[in-house]
Symmetry: C2
Subunit: 282 residues, 2 copies
């Protein structure tokens, strides 16, 4: 029985995936402070959206539920990268956040030096996990390439640099879209395209379109949720630039674009990715 | 005519390699601040010891001088990793160094936030370069695995964490050796073993022994050079722990161990790696 709803898919897969993440890091990392700091942020309440999307795409391409654990190393690598990016983002000279999801930020709990290193450790270990995965070499190699391209200085890191250097300066709508694309959408696009590639799926032009749209939608939804917060007035966000209502219209358009894109995809069970869009309607 | 001396090898290879590094990063990184910050530290006077060792090992295994540029992506990845580690090491809450090789540290030149991101960018791009190299997939995959293993939280990052958390606490000789092995030797060992692997060299047990010994010797020589500096009294170094003379004896022993190890290596031109040991006798 094929699962059709994204939340149900997560319910089935997440417990094993969470156990996998923790067992693996616990057994690999011997340096205690480093292990504690890495695990602290890995277990700080994230919903695992990116690795679940990766696994959902693989499943939608025909990988059976019982075979998904073979893809956990690569899904895990995506989550390690996302976790590192949050730790470094929260640092005093970056976003300077003392809390993340109601828990102390990594650097408030362990200190700035250890937090930098916990991030470096998570980032590097991601590539180790891909290299050691049991998938065939070509899939691992493509995963390294896509992930490094989208999460590195041609993607996410570039977006983050634009974000911190342009704070308090007004960006155009075009530049802000580019910033969000790099900072948020590129890693989500990596998760989706890696999922298709690892599951032998031919074309992924529509999936890239889907992923880019939901990536931007993510950022808009986040910024709409935060837009009542006065502190954020100087941040480069769509609610600050074009107002809340216009941002809501834009968010709806992006969700429609994502839907249209995924409906065009062939040889692909569309249910899970269509169901995922409900998140933006909540 | 096979080159026999390491300095002569570097003289032949370095100009092209330096041009390669700069051209590649310049063309790939579009975000200006990020590109500037990454290139600043990449060109801050490093001697490219690790990538030159990687290339020297490949050459000693039989790769022709004119074919070495095919190995530049992977040599470059090693240098990117080394450069990122220096940027993050110099940060205020790490080693807190305002200068590196007589030039302003990255965070003094660009700010702490951009320096963290320049490091993240270099680290991630290293894996992109390996993934995009023209070497066969197995060699690229092994390079990702060895580099991530030795430079990440099971190697260099673990050593760095021990270093900053144990500062002002006295380590045993055994623990200090482990710290130096991880923090300094592991990346050098990665360079040497990746060189052998990429050049189809069978066994590398002796090369690992060679690499570990020169890795530790590097750290001892550095610490001996710095040992007249009063500021460093609280640092965990061999000169501080066992005294300068005993450290010199230890350094000599390591160089002898390295020499013995490389002389045992078969089907391998030993000249370059033997010549490299002169560095420790200067």
């Amino acid at each position: 029985m094929q699962i059709k709803k994204f939340p149900e898919f997560c319910e089935q897969v997440l417990p094993d995936f969470n156990k996998f993440l923790n067992d693996k890091l616990n057994s690999e990392i011997k340096q205690e402070t480093l292990r504690d700091a890495m695990l602290y942020s890995l277990n700080a309440g994230g919903k695992r959206v990116r690795p679940m999307l990766f696994l959902a795409v693989a499943y939608s391409c025909g990988v059976k539920l019982e075979d998904l654990p073979k893809y956990f190393d690569i899904a895990g690598a995506i989550e390690l990268i996302h976790t590192y990016s949050l730790i470094h983002d929260d640092l005093p000279e970056m976003d300077d956040s003392d809390y993340r999801r109601g828990k102390l930020a990594n650097h408030k709990k362990f200190g700035v030096g250890p937090a930098v290193l916990a991030g470096d450790g998570l980032l590097t270990q991601a590539f180790y996990w891909i290299a050691k995965s049991s998938l065939v070499t070509d899939k691992r190699m493509a995963s390294v390439r896509i992930l490094a391209h989208n999460a590195g200085p041609m993607g996410m890191v570039a977006g983050q640099m634009t974000d911190i250097t342009m704070e308090n300066k007004k960006l155009s709508e075009e530049d802000l879209t580019k910033l969000h694309k790099q900072k948020t959408a590129d890693l989500i696009t990596a998760a989706v395209t890696m999922g298709a590639f690892c599951a032998n799926h031919d074309s992924s032009k529509n999936l890239v379109k889907y992923a880019n749209s939901i990536g931007l939608a993510f950022q808009l939804k986040d910024d709409l949720n935060d837009s009542d917060n006065d502190e954020d007035d100087n941040k480069n966000t769509f609610p600050n630039l074009i107002g809340k209502e216009a941002t809501e219209v834009k968010l709806n358009d992006l969700v429609k674009e994502a839907l249209n894109a995924v409906l065009k995809e062939e040889k692909f069970d569309k249910n899970l990715l269509v169901s995922f869009l409900d998140y933006f309607r909540e």
